[in-house]
Structure formats: structure tokens, C-alpha cells
């Protein structure tokens, strides 16, 4: 196949990718978001599978056997933990407008600038070689496709190198779709759609090769596997080898568990581009399924390759492509190449965007802002420079990767570079996980942990590979640092028997975690830090009102703030954002001094644009902030705790609210639901009005039109009209009552009420009804008196409602009882009937408005269907609770509680 065909195919594929991205953004403009979909989200996480998966796993399987699976088992295990871990990170990042892992760490630890820089540098060092590896895979696969010899290393023939053009096209793509908007925390619609698309392409291509090898070159799985089993070198690949294998497995699984969240590209796709938290639920099973599918044919291809090409000099890493090419399937070869190309490009694209955001936000922009003395003019003047910085970072990263590929990469195998990257980003895990679950975690601790982990990573993973590549001398590796024998990078402290990556992971993590924990426990925190710790760890408590408990002390002026935002967003948008925020939080914009909440809000908005570090510099340039002490912060937090603690009722409510918030993650849908509920309520009300109206009208017309009807009949119709009119007015009263409770217009007329007497009265009032059905009523009340604060008339209403329901549902000659009990905290009233009971699935639903009407099997002609809904409202207004206990056949018991004191 000619060189031109290959490069044209690659460029054509990139053009399709552009098409997909454009289409997604076009759709968005039309109001439909493609990426607002759990499957698309899960597929975009498939960016985990790079060229290393695509080509490398076959290579690894054919030399080291099933060990290659470890890096897919890790993410599969982690996927099960996505809901508690990834969702928490997503929630934090959304409410704090965080757009990179560097931002996450620096904001958690008191918006610390140097932490952000360290994290960024570690990412660059750890990941650029990994990007280079993808470029190497592209050029390597292109050579196999075209039958060229290996591209010469070095820069001698750079213009004849296809990789250069591919790299330029990629940089162009990334700049186009990755720097769409200045706010990096906004979603990149086209980008995510393209990455999800790439995940499909590489999966389909890989499976195509798998099918070709299994059924085209062999006669199915049993053929391949039985031939492999006959070959002693291949059959060994099914077994765990005996040297250091268990530690390797454990190490690789743990490493890849962390990588699936902390690799910059995974963090970007999984957290920054996440549209809805519920999509994570899809990813929990779709991602493992994807990994399973893409590894399914690894063994057949590896064995097929060994059996058919094992005698040749062809590298096992290239079997995926070599097998179809060697057997004349040129077209399949081209598809395979595109599959590998998509695996490589998706990784390059996302990784570059993630790192360029970090680079520009945490290093370049702060430098720019510091170098030219910043004066807010309020004309959007900084939008372009910042976008340009981001674009420049992209070019820089791609260029660095390209140079690395040309100058350094040929010394390493595919796998080692990937694992070194994994080990680098694993260094963030203690600071991030500690930061979101442990309030004690401190800035100094995080810095200590990451720095020492970073150093050990460099020493045990990078130094040996540099040495073996001949870039530095082997002395350190052979004799230890400064000739000290227990400082050998591959057997630190004399530790032997682990492979180099596990060894690196083991020691760097031990030191990282220890330093992080010990320093955290022994360091003092600033107010800012203590506050962020509180917010991060208890994010689900704070995210409903993330701005209302802002802690910021100092002076800033509104016009300054306005023009500061205008510099980045343009005057019009800045003004709109501030006005909206002020209106929502009831902040007056009349005064010249800015409300602290506005200052914090402005900083957060800027953080989304230029990263937290720069945002902090910017805001401090227009304000005079006073440092809060830890005591002050804790006081503010404690005060709010005390207010909560003082009032039990409030605490209960806040628990309810919390529950509600967790459920209502999707604000949009919720609004629609509310609208629909209101419509439905209205529809049901009018529907319920229609039935009595129909009979009244029919009966009235009959009486009117039939003057000759006999007296008895007339009497029957007329009393019917009266009864139905009563029903109608009862219904209207009930609807109005309910509306009153729901809108909060109903005030409670609280008095000290003697509960024993109230119950006696209520039972007396329904006794005639009970006698009609021959029902026995029983009151079980202790001798002592029970006084409770409540609205007597309303509680009476609840009691009679529950009692008349009980009489209604008890069988003929049945039995109804009322029990009163008390604990120190609350009074409990139980109304029991021995009817046929209520099935468990309905226990919650029966308290809904018009539940009867909507569920025809339960509908009774009498009753408005609002009684229980009203009871519930009344009891909740009192701070009590109401529920039903019932087993089929054993009657049902309605229970309500009222708080004492």
C-alpha cells in the first residue's frame, strides 16, 4: 500500500472526526445535546484504551500471558466505586468550577499556588512521554501498512515524516474544539462526541481483526486454543508465572485503579466533561463491558500471531496489523490501522487539552498577569491573550511530544512508558482522596506527600530508564546513589523481587502516604484551608447552597469587581452574571461596596476561566482581603451548627432537604416535573369535579323534564342532587385547604392540648358511622395525661380523617382501635383497622394527592382522594411524621407522631 494512501486514509479519518465534532456542536445549537447521554459519557471514558491497548496488549499477551489483563481489571474494580468516589469529585468540581486535577488539589488545600505548579509539572513530565508513545505508534503502524522500513530516529528527515503532518492536524483539531470558549469549565460538546466516536471505531476495528484471525485464519476459538495448548511456550502463557507475579498483579491492579480516575485525560473526560452525575451510573457497567470487549480477542490474536508469524522477525506489538497485512487482507489492514490511529489520536487529543489547560491556567497565565501590571479596564481585553496562551500550550505540548518521540522514545518499549505515567499520576491519589474524605488533610501534608512521591517516582522509574537508554550513566543504577548500596533505584533499601514498576509504585506510595498523613496531623491550617476542607469533605451537605456560607472578609468595590470580570467575559456578560447572582441571593447592587458573597462568586467565575491560582491573584488585585484565622472560620461554621442543633425540627427538616437535594440532581428535569405535576393536579381536580357535576346535571334535567314522575322517584333524584352538591363543596374545601398548607399560608394556632381528651372526642364523633357497620371501637390510652403543643382543630381533623378511613376499610362487624404512646421525645398515635390491608408498594403513594383517583382499583366513590395528603401536610407542619404499617390480610395501622416540648 502506498504511503499516500495511508496518509490520505488518516487525514480522511481526521476529517470525519471533524465532521462528528461539528455535527455535535451544530446539534447543540439546535438545542439537542448529544453528549447529554450516559452511553456517550461511558464511551468517552474509553479514551483509557490507547494505542498501547490496541497494539501493546497483544504484544504483552504473547510474551507475558494473562498478566496484560491486570490494567483492565483495575478500572473494572474502580468502576464499582465510581458512585461514591467519582461522583463526589464531580460534585466538588462542578460547584467549585474546577477544570483540572491541579485546580482540584490547589483549591482543596487553601487555593495554594505552588501546589498547582507542582501538580502541573508532574503531569507534564509523566504524560508527555506517553503522548509521544502514541505518535510513535502512529508512525510505526503506518510503516507496517506501507511496508516501509522504520522511520529513522532523529530530525534528519523531518519533512518526509508522516507523523509531523498528523501531529499538525491533531494540534489544529485540539485548538479548534478544545478552546472554543474561554471558560474551561464549560463543556466541549464536539470534543466529547468525537472521543466517544473514536471509542467505537477502535473497538469495532479491533474486533474485526479478532474475527478475521479467529475465523478467517483459523477455524474458530477451539482451533486456535488447541494449537496453542500443543505449543509448550504458548501454553505457559495461561499460567501465573512464578517470579514476583503476585506482587506485579497487585501493583498493576492498584495502579490502574488510580489511573482510571487520575490520568489527566480520564479526569478530563470523567469529571470536567461530565454533564450529569447520573451518567456515572451508566459508566459503572458500560465501561467494564467495553474493556471486556476490547480485550476479548487479545489472546486469539496473540496466539494466531505466534503460530503464524512466530518464526519471522515481526514484533509481537504489531501482530494486530501484521496478521491481516501478511495474509493479503489489505482493506482490513487499512481498517485496523484506522482503529489504532483512533486509539492514539483520542488519547493525544484529550491528554493535550487537559495538560494545556493546567499549563496555561497554573503557569502561563499567572506569569502573564504578573508581568504586565494589570489594570482592569472592563473591555474584554484579556479574552484573546488567554485563549492564545491556551493555544500556544497545545502547540508546545504536541511539539514536545513529537521531539520526545524523535529523540528519546526509540529507547523504550511501549509498555514501560505507559506504566511510568500511571505511577506518576498515582502520586495525586493520597492528596485527592485524603482531601475529599479527611478534613485533617493539610496543604503542607499534600505538598510533602506529592513532592516526596514525585522524587521517588523520578528516582526509581525515570532514572533507570534514562540509564538503560544510555542517556545517563549506569553507575547510579548499578551502585546506588552516591555509591550507597541501599539507594539503588531498582532495589531501594535492598528490596528485591518486584518488577521495576511495582517497586516504584510501592516505595513512592509508602513515602507519599506517610508524609501526607504525618505532616497533615502535625501542621496548622489557615482559615481558607479549614473552610475548603469542610466544603470538600461535606460537599453533599454544602452543594445545595454553596455560596450562602461563603467565608470571606475584607473590602472590595463593586465597580472594580465588575470591570475585572468584564476583562475576561466582556462587559455585557459580566454585568448580566453579577445581576443574576445578586438577584438570586438578594444582594443589593445599590451600594458601592461589594458583598463578600459577590467577591467569592467573582473569584469562582474567574477560576473557571483562568484557573484558581490566577483568579486569586486577579481578585486580590481589586480587593483588600483580611486573612481569616482558623478560629474565625470554625466559629462561623460552629455557629451555623448551633443554630441547627438548637432546633430539632430544623434538623429533621434539613435531613429531609438533604435527601431531597440528593435526589434532585437534575434541576431541569425537576422544573419540568413540577410544571407537569401542577398541570396534572389541575387536570385531576377538574376531572374530580366533572363526575358530581354530571350526576347533578342529569338528575336536575330529569326532574325538570319529567313533571309527571312519581313522588318517590322525584324524592330520590332531589336528594341525590343534594348529596352530590355536598360532595362537590367538600371537594372544593379540601382542594383549597391543601393549597393553603402547601403554599405555607396556613399558620398553626398552637396551644397546649390534652391528647387523651382529643382522641376521646374524635372517636365519639365517628361512632355513629361505626355503629352503622357494626364496628367495635377501642381506645387504648395510658392513665397519665398527655399534653402536647399543637393546633387542636387541625389535629382533630387528622384524627377524624384517619378514623373514618379505618371505619370505611374495616369489614362489616370489624374492629377499629386507637392507641396513644409516648417516648421522651414524641407522642405517637396509632389508628388500626382489621380490614384487608394495603400492599407494601403503596405505603408511600397513598399519601399522594388524588392517589385513589389515579389508581382505579382503589377508588371509592366516597372521599375526595385528598384526605391523607392533607393529614400528611398537617403533621409535617407540626414537625411530626406520618406513615402506614400494614401486612396483607392483617389490617393496616396509620401512625402519626408529634414532637413533645
Amino acid at each position: 500500500m502506498s504511503n499516500i494512501t495511508a496518509i490520505l486514509a488518516a487525514l480522511l479519518y481526521l476529517a470525519i472526526l471533524f465532521g462528528v465534532a461539528y455535527y455535535a456542536e451544530y446539534k447543540l445549537k439546535k438545542g439537542k445535546s448529544i453528549i447529554n447521554n450516559g452511553y456517550v459519557y461511558a464511551l468517552s471514558l474509553g479514551v483509557y484504551c490507547t494505542a498501547w491497548t490496541y497494539y501493546g496488549s497483544v504484544g504483552q499477551a504473547s510474551t507475558r500471558g494473562i498478566e496484560f489483563l491486570a490494567v483492565y481489571i483495575g478500572p473494572t474494580i474502580m468502576a464499582a466505586l465510581f458512585w461514591p468516589i467519582l461522583r463526589k469529585i464531580v460534585r466538588i468540581c462542578k460547584t467549585q468550577r474546577i477544570n483540572s486535577i491541579a485546580d482540584l488539589i490547589s483549591i482543596r488545600y487553601g487555593k495554594n499556588f505552588s501546589l498547582a505548579v507542582v501538580v502541573t509539572v508532574l503531569c507534564i513530565l509523566g504524560v508527555i512521554p506517553y503522548i509521544a508513545l502514541q505518535l510513535k505508534a502512529i508512525s510505526g503502524s503506518m510503516n507496517i501498512l506501507t511496508g516501509n522500513t522504520e522511520t529513522l530516529p532523529g530530525l534528519s528527515n523531518i519533512l518526509g515524516d508522516n507523523t509531523l503532518y498528523i501531529a499538525i492536524a491533531l494540534a489544529f483539531f485540539i485548538m479548534l474544539f478544545g478552546t472554543r470558549s474561554i471558560d474551561a469549565s464549560e463543556k466541549h460538546e464536539g470534543l466529547v462526541a468525537a472521543i466517544a466516536f473514536e471509542s467505537i471505531v477502535k473497538l469495532v476495528a479491533f474486533i474485526a481483526v479478532g474475527l478475521f484471525v479467529t475465523f478467517g485464519l483459523f477455524n474458530g476459538f477451539s482451533d486456535i486454543f488447541s494449537k496453542a495448548a500443543d505449543d509448550p511456550t504458548l501454553s505457559k502463557l495461561f499460567q501465573f508465572s512464578d517470579t514476583g507475579s503476585y506482587s506485579t498483579w497487585t501493583g498493576l491492579i492498584l495502579l490502574s485503579m488510580l489511573a482510571i480516575i487520575f490520568l489527566p485525560r480520564q479526569f478530563h473526560m470523567g469529571v470536567v466533561e461530565n454533564v450529569k452525575e447520573v451518567h456515572i451510573k451508566k459508566a459503572i457497567w458500560v465501561l467494564p463491558l467495553y474493556l471486556l470487549l476490547i480485550t476479548f480477542f487479545v489472546f486469539p490474536i496473540a496466539f494466531g500471531g505466534k503460530l503464524l508469524l512466530g518464526h519471522t522477525a515481526i514484533n509481537a506489538d504489531t501482530y494486530v496489523l501484521a496478521l491481516p497485512m501478511q495474509h493479503g487482507a489489505k482493506w482490513l489492514g487499512l481498517i485496523t490501522f484506522i482503529g489504532g490511529f483512533s486509539a492514539a489520536t483520542s488519547m493525544i487529543i484529550v491528554e493535550t487539552i487537559a495538560i494545556s489547560t493546567m499549563m496555561s491556567n497554573n503557569i502561563a497565565t499567572p506569569l502573564l498577569l504578573a508581568s504586565q501590571k494589570f489594570k482592569p479596564k472592563g473591555d474584554g481585553q484579556l479574552t484573546n491573550p488567554i485563549l492564545n496562551i491556551r493555544r500556544f500550550s497545545i502547540i508546545l505540548i504536541i511539539s514536545l511530544a513529537f521531539l520526545y518521540d524523535k529523540l528519546v522514545a526509540q529507547h523504550f518499549s511501549l509498555v514501560s512508558i505507559g506504566m511510568v505515567s500511571f505511577a506518576a499520576v498515582a502520586q495525586f491519589a493520597p492528596a485527592v482522596l485524603g482531601g475529599i474524605y479527611w478534613k485533617q488533610a493539610s496543604q503542607k501534608g499534600a505538598m510533602a506527600g506529592i513532592s516526596i512521591g514525585f522524587a521517588i517516582w523520578f528516582f526509581t522509574a525515570v532514572i533507570p530508564s534514562l540509564a538503560s537508554a544510555g542517556i545517563i550513566s549506569m553507575n547510579t543504577v548499578d551502585q546506588g546513589l552516591f555509591g550507597i548500596s541501599w539507594l539503588k533505584p531498582l532495589s531501594l533499601f535492598g528490596m528485591q523481587g518486584m518488577d521495576s514498576i511495582t517497586h516504584c509504585f510501592f516505595w513512592s506510595m509508602i513515602f507519599n502516604i506517610t508524609a501526607f498523613a504525618v505532616v497533615s496531623l502535625n501542621s496548622k491550617k489557615t482559615g481558607q484551608e479549614a473552610y475548603q476542607a469542610e466544603i470538600f469533605v461535606d460537599i453533599f451537605r454544602h452543594s445545595s447552597t454553596p455560596d450562602s456560607n461563603t467565608i470571606w472578609k475584607g473590602t472590595a468595590y463593586l465597580p472594580d469587581l465588575n470591570s475585572l470580570l468584564a476583562n475576561f467575559l466582556g462587559a455585557e456578560r459580566a454585568e448580566k452574571i453579577i445581576a443574576t447572582y445578586a438577584r438570586r441571593h438578594n444582594i443589593s447592587l445599590e451600594t458601592n461596596k461589594a458583598d463578600p458573597r459577590l467577591v467569592a462568586f467573582a473569584e469562582k467565575i474567574l477560576g473557571g476561566v483562568i484557573g484558581s491560582a490566577s483568579a486569586r491573584i486577579m481578585v486580590s488585585s481589586v480587593s483588600k482581603e483580611e486573612e481569616l484565622t482558623v478560629d474565625e472560620v470554625l466559629n462561623i461554621l460552629r455557629e451555623s451548627q448551633q443554630v441547627l442543633g438548637a432546633n430539632k425540627e430544623l434538623r429533621k427538616k434539613s435531613a429531609e432537604l438533604q435527601k431531597a437535594t440528593a435526589q434532585l440532581t437534575d434541576a431541569n428535569k425537576q422544573l419540568q416535573d413540577m410544571d407537569r405535576n401542577k398541570d396534572e393536579f389541575l387536570y385531576t381536580v377538574t376531572h374530580e369535579l366533572r363526575t358530581p357535576l354530571t350526576s347533578i346535571r342529569a338528575m336536575a334535567e330529569i326532574v325538570h323534564d319529567n313533571t309527571d314522575m312519581d313522588e318517590d322517584q322525584r324524592e330520590q333524584f332531589l336528594s341525590g342532587i343534594i348529596k352530590e352538591t355536598e360532595r362537590l363543596s367538600h371537594l372544593i374545601t379540601q382542594v383549597l385547604n391543601l393549597e393553603k398548607y402547601e403554599s405555607g399560608k396556613q399558620l398553626l394556632n398552637m396551644t397546649s392540648v390534652q391528647m387523651n381528651g382529643l382522641i376521646n372526642d374524635a372517636v365519639r364523633s365517628i361512632r355513629p358511622l361505626a355503629n352503622e357497620k357494626g364496628i367495635q371501637t377501642e381506645i387504648k390510652i395510658p392513665d397519665s395525661m398527655f399534653l402536647v403543643q399543637c393546633d387542636e382543630a387541625l389535629i382533630m381533623q387528622v384524627l377524624t380523617n384517619l378514623l373514618s378511613n379505618a371505619v370505611k376499610f374495616a369489614p362489616q362487624n370489624g374492629h377499629v382501635s386507637v392507641t396513644l404512646q409516648s417516648t421522651y421525645e414524641e407522642l405517637q398515635v396509632r389508628v388500626h383497622d382489621n380490614g384487608k390491608g394495603i400492599e407494601p408498594g403503596l405505603h408511600e403513594l397513598i399519601f399522594d394527592k388524588f392517589f385513589q383517583a389515579k389508581n382505579q382499583t382503589l377508588r371509592k366513590p366516597e372521599g375526595s382522594g385528598l384526605g391523607l395528603a392533607i393529614c400528611k401536610k398537617i403533621i409535617l407542619l407540626h414537625g411530626g411524621d406520618i406513615w402506614v404499617e400494614s401486612e396483607d390480610g392483617n389490617g393496616s395501622t396509620f401512625i402519626f407522631t408529634l414532637p413533645l416540648s
Binding site: 363526575t691 382505579q856 366513590p861
Partner: protein, 123 residues
């Protein structure tokens, strides 16, 4: 002249039932009533009515279900079905006609109007 036209009235509201029974008798039809879906299914099978006045929301079997039953049965499919319901949404009405109903009357209705329409229907 064949025997009296048979009309079955189905509704779970006793007053509506009482009114329609009176009205249909007075206009010279042979009237039967059913208080719920099960009774209705029973009666249509045995009595083969010419017209069925059918409420939709009922405790056990709903009106749509009964209509479907009538229209799919060989011996019953000539019976004319008239829905009378408080369900007034477009979709509900369309569903009624799609199931083969001759008329869909929304509640509240005028009995005078209704009688006129029934007469036209049977004529």
C-alpha cells in the same frame, strides 16, 4: 319491527347510573345496568346489547378494556359503544375512537343532547 333495542349502561357512580337508567327506559329502550367492569363483561356476553354506554375509569376493568373486548368478539362487534368520561384529553378521546367507539361524550353532558345522539345512532 324487531324487539326493543337493548342498551347497557356502565358506570360506577350510582347517581349517573340511576339517571341514565330512568332516561333510557322512558325513551323506550330495554335497559340493563352494570356497576363495574366485571358485571359489564358478564352482561354483554349474555345479553348482546345493541348499544353500550360506557364509563372509562372504573375500579376493576376499565372502559377501554371492555370496548376492546366487544370489538374483538365476533358475536359482539356490531354493538355500538358510546364512551362517557371525565377524561377530556385529546389523546384519551382519540384512543376511544381508535378502539372503535361510535361516540365519545365528555362529562358533564346534557341528558337531552345525549338522548338525541343515541337515537341518531340507532336509527
Amino acid at each position: 319491527m324487531s324487539a326493543l333495542k337493548k342498551i347497557l349502561v356502565v358506570d360506577d357512580d350510582p347517581y349517573i347510573l340511576m339517571s341514565l337508567e330512568f332516561l333510557m327506559k322512558k325513551n323506550g329502550y330495554d335497559v340493563m345496568v352494570a356497576r363495574n367492569g366485571k358485571e359489564a363483561l358478564d352482561i354483554v356476553e349474555k345479553q348482546l346489547p345493541d348499544v353500550v354506554l360506557l364509563d372509562i375509569m372504573m375500579p376493576d376493568v376499565d372502559g377501554y378494556e371492555i370496548c376492546r373486548h366487544i370489538k374483538s368478539s365476533k358475536k359482539l362487534k356490531d354493538a355500538k359503544v358510546v364512551f362517557m368520561s371525565a377524561k377530556t384529553k385529546e389523546a384519551d378521546i382519540k384512543k376511544g375512537y381508535d378502539l372503535g367507539a361510535s361516540l365519545y361524550i365528555t362529562k358533564p353532558f346534557s341528558t337531552r343532547e345525549m338522548i338525541k345522539q343515541i337515537k341518531e345512532l340507532i336509527a
